[in-house]
């Protein structure tokens, strides 16, 4: 493994993904550096989630290569749960298991460890994402939206994966909860040395937590870089996205 490869957590080259006659991702290339938080923006239905799901391996690709931590993906060899954790938009917690069992699930399936240690690790993870030990015996149906996201994050981080995928982590949260969640992601990213790949529409998250932002339009990455570079981009869609009335207002407020 040479140094240039070592620098990237995810490398996507010439990726083509489509359904039927429709091509969603058209020769897309994207590099995610190790230890950065990359935000991905794009139109609704424009392929953001498709890109994330293709990298994870949930959607088959027509052509192109994807390397994760220097290893090409495709085969189902290495345990995926140890490479990445995924926070789905609705949490995707197992509704028949308690919060504790949800967090322990990846541990139980991938490792051999004593019940005592498993309990301690589960509580430790829950406390790291800002929940209390008392919440551990609740069922997902009893949780609020923000708590569901936190539990899902704890489950995604159960095995300390080097890469974390977040699908619209702050959608459905109130601004205070969303802000807290942003801070939490930033803190965890720093403590655990994570690489975070985040699909989001939340301009506040993009500005505050993301090191770089990638804009997806017409099936390609049309602009990538720190937020201030993207604001200066000349691409019509990127301009419309960041300089529309709504975005202008928000950015004005933020200043």
């Amino acid at each position: 493994m040479d140094a240039s490869q070592d620098q990237f957590a995810i490398r996507v080259r010439d990726l083509v993904v489509g359904f039927g006659r429709q091509t969603v991702l058209d020769h897309l290339s994207l590099d995610v550096r190790r230890g950065e938080i990359l935000g991905l923006v794009g139109a609704s239905g424009g392929g953001k989630s498709v890109l994330m799901r293709t990298i994870i391996g949930l959607i088959p690709r027509r052509s192109g290569t994807i390397e994760v931590m220097g290893q090409p993906t495709g085969g189902h060899g290495r345990g995926a749960a140890t490479t990445w954790g995924i926070l789905f938009q609705q949490g995707a917690l197992f509704s028949s298991l308690t919060v504790r069992q949800n967090v322990q699930f990846p541990l139980r399936e991938n490792l051999v460890l004593s019940q005592e240690l498993m309990d301690e690790i589960a509580i430790a993870k829950l406390e790291m994402v800002g929940l209390r030990a008392q919440d551990a015996d609740k069922y997902p149906a009893e949780l609020s939206g923000g708590m569901t996201k936190r539990v899902a994050l704890a489950r995604a981080l159960a095995l300390d994966p080097p890469i974390l995928f977040l699908d619209e982590p702050t959608s459905g949260l109130d601004p205070i909860a969303a802000g807290d969640f942003d801070v939490l992601i930033k803190t965890l990213q720093r403590t655990l040395g994570l690489t975070v790949f985040m699909v989001t529409h939340d301009l506040a998250s993009l500005t505050t937590v993301c090191n770089r932002v990638a804009a997806l339009a017409d099936g390609k990455i049309v602009a990538i870089g720190p937020m201030r570079e993207l604001l200066q981009s000349e691409h019509p869609w990127v301009r419309a996205y960041f300089h529309g009335k709504r975005s202008q207002m928000l950015q004005h407020e933020m200043r």
């Binding site: 460890l113 240690l117 301690e120 509580i123 430790a124 149906a141 300390d160």
Partner: protein
């Protein structure tokens, strides 16, 4: 560079120097647990414990927690352990781990098994009362909805009613006819086989006719409809409840009973007698075929015997029960559907409950009808 985690313990007098080395990560958890257990006694014995972290090549939450646990074990007897040589990029993690698992709530005491059993019994008794209340409530709501429709016939959801009739009536005909046909044939075969021994073969036709028209036709059809359409109602209404569609209806000023439940229950009440009729005919036909090919009784004699054995009363007894069974199935299926809570598991549970409960009630109802018809001499 080694790939196995190590824990070097160097006791010198009262001082224990622990030096973890290698990758302290979740992948090596088995080794880590053994290592930390092996030095446990040494930690308890020593007065000063230091943890030299400079040899750790990789560290994650699990590894950090195992080390933190060792340090807490030392601290619990008043000799706080010291971490030295923590690499910069792991200091945040070590700091984080130091905060966790401080306030573990006391586990809830296991309840007395006898008391727990009694508690369950009490809960299910109260639950049964609640079930009756919900049933009566739904019956009342349906009654009010029917009165509303009688007052303003235009408010009947005709499209929905016809669609439900198509789904639970028309589409059910093939399977209902097939099953009842087989049941009729089996009863006839058993009749011929056993009655032949004492030369009473011709009474097989009486048995088949009376049994099918009075009891079996309607019972089999009702049970099949409960399994086929009752479960569908519960699942439909349950998922509509989960996705807040029913709340949306209410906020638009519409009564879910009028819009969703009345057409469904009405469709059942109309369809079940028709299906019972078709089912009974199919069963008699099945019996007739067996009579011809197994009992050596030609169609003409079979029909002749049938004509003598059964009367309109037998047919009435069977068909009169059908609408009531349909009402029970419909009410149970719809009210169970509305009891679905947020989770996928609850949807499955209510669907099962709906089918089990409606089949049970159909059979109980059939028993009550048997007593009733016997006492009025039908």
């Amino acid at each position: 560079m080694n790939h196995e985690p190590l824990l070097l313990a160097t006791p010198s007098g009262d001082v224990l120097n622990l030096r973890p080395e290698g990758p302290w990560t979740a992948a090596n958890v088995v080794t880590l647990e053994t290592l930390s257990r092996s030095v446990g006694a040494d930690v308890d014995r020593s007065r000063v414990v230091t943890l030299d972290m400079s040899g750790v090549s990789a560290l994650d939450t699990l590894g950090a927690w195992v080390l933190e646990k060792l340090s807490r074990r030392a601290a619990s007897s008043g000799r706080p352990a010291q971490f030295v040589g923590v690499a910069d990029h792991y200091s945040g993690l070590m700091e984080e781990v130091r905060q966790v698992n401080r306030h573990t709530p006391a586990p809830a005491a296991a309840p007395n098994p006898v008391l727990a059993r009694l508690g369950d019994l009490g809960k299910s008794t109260v639950g049964a009362r609640e079930d009756v209340a919900i049933f009566l409530q739904m019956l009342g709501a349906l009654f009010m909805a029917v009165i509303g429709v009688l007052r303003r016939p235009r408010s009947l959801r005709l499209t929905s009613l016809v669609y439900q009739l198509y789904r639970i009536g028309w589409q059910a005909i093939p399977i209902v006819a097939l099953i009842t046909f087989l049941i009729g044939a089996i009863i006839a075969q058993q009749g011929f086989f056993h009655f032949r021994r004492f030369g009473a073969e011709s009474y097989t036709v009486d048995m088949v006719g009376i049994l099918v028209l009075r009891e079996l036709g309607v019972l089999i059809v009702a049970i099949m409809v409960a399994g086929r359409s009752g479960s569908a109602y519960t699942a439909e209404l349950g998922s509509m409840k989960m996705r807040e569609e029913i709340d949306a209806l209410s906020t638009m000023g519409l009564d879910p009973v009028d819009v969703l439940i009345l057409p469904r229950v009405a469709a059942l009440i109309i369809a079940l007698p028709i299906l019972t009729f078709i089912g009974s005919i199919a069963a008699l036909y099945g019996g007739g075929l067996v009579a011809q090919f197994y009992g050596d009784m030609g169609p003409a004699i079979y029909i002749e015997r049938l004509h003598e054995a059964i009367s309109v009363t037998h047919f009435e007894v069977g068909i009169l029960k059908a609408p009531f069974m349909a009402l029970v199935i419909g009410i149970v299926a719809c009210s169970e559907g509305l009891r679905v809570k947020g989770s996928a598991e609850s949807l499955g549970r209510q669907t099962t409950t709906s089918v089990v409960k409606s089949i049970f009630l159909v059979i109980v109802l059939d028993g009550l009808f048997a007593v009733f018809f016997a006492s009025i001499g039908m």
